[in-house]
């Protein structure tokens, strides 16, 4: 007890020193001339914060704040004009776009795979057919040695135990994209629970956030759930190979994800989905995530800086993607988005 108490002030002191020193470096810089404030999706937060940090390190007069408050809140803040830019995994609905004063320019800046990760001791490789994984999330396929799973996994010793499904409890773009895909491949899923960011899952325990789902799967043998690629990658968790539209089993990777998003046809407003990519080498569940910017900004200087930041993200920034578990945009898409950046005035 005494040891604990006496070490407390020391810890507080250390923390204070740390704060002071980090504050000190900030104040030694030149005062920021332009301060951009953004808020929105949590999915691209790691890569956005990396980009914005690299950019403001290189440009001493620019400071960029990004808060990962969730796609829904990001869109709301963007419509209410309380931020300089927003971010959303669900893009925006036409209604929402109509409510933006000054017009909205949506820009897909990066993309990612959504993977099925599982905890089955001894099973290194798992191939799931469309029937199998749709069935699992509908609560139809209940045990690991169900014929639907066993059929595609010759030689794999599947346990005779219940499948513990783990889904997201909180509203999230990840759930939206995942249920969009399941609705595309299963009529039954489309009917209920359907595409939603917080669907009424017929099965499974629900955990909060990607990190919650990851933790639940790690601590529960026999479980399976969906998370963003980056989370499974950093935790070195096994990821299932999924059957795509053309019947091939594809593991999530940069190449297979890029093949998937390449099939998304971007509309005039740069919104586009790949709910069920047809290409043979495409991993079936991948999506863009959008940065929301105003076509007409009140402060031309801010608009100019934002354009510069966006161009950086679309060129040099893309090289950071892979290491962080994101998909670099295909060249054609990047070129299209770069052209659209000029609409931000």
């Amino acid at each position: 007890m005494r040891v604990f108490l006496s070490s407390l002030p020391a810890a507080v002191l250390l923390a204070t020193v740390g704060l002071m020193s980090s504050g000190g470096t900030a104040s030694s810089e030149e005062p920021a001339d332009v301060r951009l404030q953004g808020a929105g999706a949590s999915f691209p937060f790691p890569i956005y914060s990396k980009w914005f940090k690299v950019y403001s390190d290189a440009h001493q007069n620019v400071e960029i704040d990004y808060q990962s408050v969730g796609s829904g809140a990001g869109v709301e803040n963007f419509i209410d004009n309380t931020v300089d830019f927003g971010a959303s995994d669900k893009a925006m609905t036409p209604d929402e776009i109509a409510r933006v004063k000054g017009g909205a320019q949506l820009l897909p800046l990066t993309a990612g795979n959504i993977v099925l990760t599982y905890n089955l001791p001894g099973v290194k490789e798992l191939k799931l057919s469309r029937e199998a994984y749709a069935g699992i999330f509908l609560g139809k396929v209940k045990t690991w040695n169900d014929p639907a799973i066993a059929k595609t996994n010759d030689g794999v010793k599947l346990p005779d135990s219940a499948i513990n499904v783990v889904v997201r409890a909180d509203g999230s773009g990840t759930s939206f994209v995942f249920t969009q895909h399941l609705s595309a491949i299963s009529k039954e899923f489309a009917k209920s629970p359907g595409t939603n960011d917080m669907p009424a899952w017929p099965v499974g325990t629900r955990s909060k956030g990607n990190e919650g789902v990851t933790a639940s799967i790690q601590t529960t043998p026999g479980s399976i759930g969906y998370v963003e690629f980056a989370y499974a990658m950093t935790q070195k968790m096994p990821m299932a190979q999924l059957e795509n539209k053309s019947g091939a089993f594809v593991a999530p990777s940069t190449a297979s994800g890029q093949a998937a998003i390449a099939s998304a046809t971007l509309a005039e407003n740069l919104i586009g989905w790949a709910p069920d990519p047809p290409a043979k080498e495409a991993y079936p569940i991948a999506t863009f995530t959008w940065l929301l910017s105003y076509k007409k900004n009140a402060d031309p200087k801010k608009a100019e800086v934002l354009r510069d930041v966006l161009i950086y993200c679309l060129t040099d920034g893309q090289k950071e993607s892979e290491a962080l578990g994101y998909l670099p945009l295909p060249e054609a898409v990047a070129a299209k988005v770069k052209a659209a950046v000029q609409n931000v005035q």
């Binding site: 939603n196 917080m198 499974g204 325990t205 909060k208 933790a215």
Partner: protein
């Protein structure tokens, strides 16, 4: 030199002014506290009004929350909130009260004292203080439990409690599955781990308040009981604890309030599944967890529904606290009757 120097003098203008100002401040802040509370309630209810009008009472009695079908209701969350809180309260009160008696009656100190006596150190200037210090240490340790952030409890539950209790739970389910309490198996998150963690979270409240009440019992009551030939346990159970019952109940009500509103740890451990089950191993959901999970992505229409849910939680908390206050009031009258 004048002889009649007055020692007392009328308050100076500064003193009067300070006094008036101080009073004004105290009144102001006291009313402000009330006003803020009312303001919060009012704001939540106003935000909930559209949803209350749209969904009516069915919102509280239905069991489905399905955005795709546009059906919203929160009975499973209400059930989960009450069930987890009541169970945690039972567990927490049992342990918390035991700890409070243990600490208030100086059992630890006695044991340390006895130990010191065997090595003849009981009146040593340094060692002699040990019994008291050990007592304080235990009290501090329990109070420290209250300082642990909720999310840390959640993580601990996720990585320690669930794997620890899972085998026992599944064995109970396999052997005694016909008892409704053990009706399902524990796959991962579920009611029991959540209740265990929640009871630890509310334990310090119960212990601290109950210990305070037990210590405050006049020692002459205890002496009288001993004098009548009561043993130590008889004294504790028949005299000390009943005399302190008002304070103990106060602690229990406070703890219940905390359990109802606890969010993060439960959101991590309950499984957030909209099921109503009597089984201790089934996943469940709570109102606070629903709010925490749904708010970040909520659009304008969702906010109304969530505010309705928040209103329900508010009403439950209010009712519980009012009931608690009522119980304390009525038992305290009994006590005073006995004393006279």
């Amino acid at each position: 030199m004048p002889v009649d120097i007055q020692i007392s003098q009328p308050p100076s203008r500064v003193q009067t002014l300070t006094n008036t100002l101080f009073r004004a401040f105290c009144y102001g802040f006291a009313w402000l506290t009330l006003a803020i509370g009312l303001f919060i309630v009012l704001k939540i209810v106003i935000a909930a009004l559209p949803a209350i009008q749209q969904y009516g009472f069915g919102f509280l009695t239905g069991q489905v929350w399905d955005p795709h079908k546009n059906i919203y209701s929160i009975l499973p969350e209400i059930w989960g909130t009450l069930y987890s809180s009541v169970f945690a309260l039972i567990l927490g009160t049992a342990f918390g009260l035991a700890a409070a008696i243990f600490l208030a009656e100086g059992f630890v100190a006695d044991a340390v004292f006895a130990l010191l006596r065997t090595v003849k150190l009981q009146s040593h200037p340094v060692w002699g203080k040990l019994p008291r210090q050990v007592d304080d240490l235990f009290l501090n340790l329990i109070e420290l439990l209250a300082a642990i952030p909720s999310v840390v409890y959640g993580l601990w539950g996720l990585f320690v409690v669930i794997p620890l209790v899972r085998p026992a739970c599944n064995w109970l389910h396999a052997q005694l599955g016909w008892i409704p309490l053990f009706g399902t198996d524990l796959s991962g998150p579920g009611m029991l781990p959540a209740v265990i963690v929640l009871s630890i979270m509310i334990l310090p409240t119960i212990t601290a308040v109950a210990r305070g009440a037990l210590v405050a019992v006049p020692s002459k009551l205890r002496m009288a009981a001993y004098g009548l030939g009561a043993t130590r346990w008889e004294t504790i159970l028949a005299v000390t604890a009943p005399s302190a019952s008002r304070g103990i109940l106060g602690g229990v009500v406070l703890a219940f309030g905390r359990a109802l509103g606890e969010t993060m740890a439960l959101a991590m451990l309950l499984g957030n599944q909209n099921t109503i089950s009597i089984s201790l191993f089934s996943p469940a959901n709570t109102l606070a967890a629903l709010l925490a999970n749904a708010f970040p992505e909520a659009g304008p229409k969702d906010v109304g529904r969530l505010m309705y849910a928040a209103t329900a939680l508010l009403v439950i908390t209010l009712v519980v606290n009012a009931a608690g206050a009522f119980i304390i009031q009525s038992t305290s009258v009994d006590q005073e009757g006995e004393k006279s």
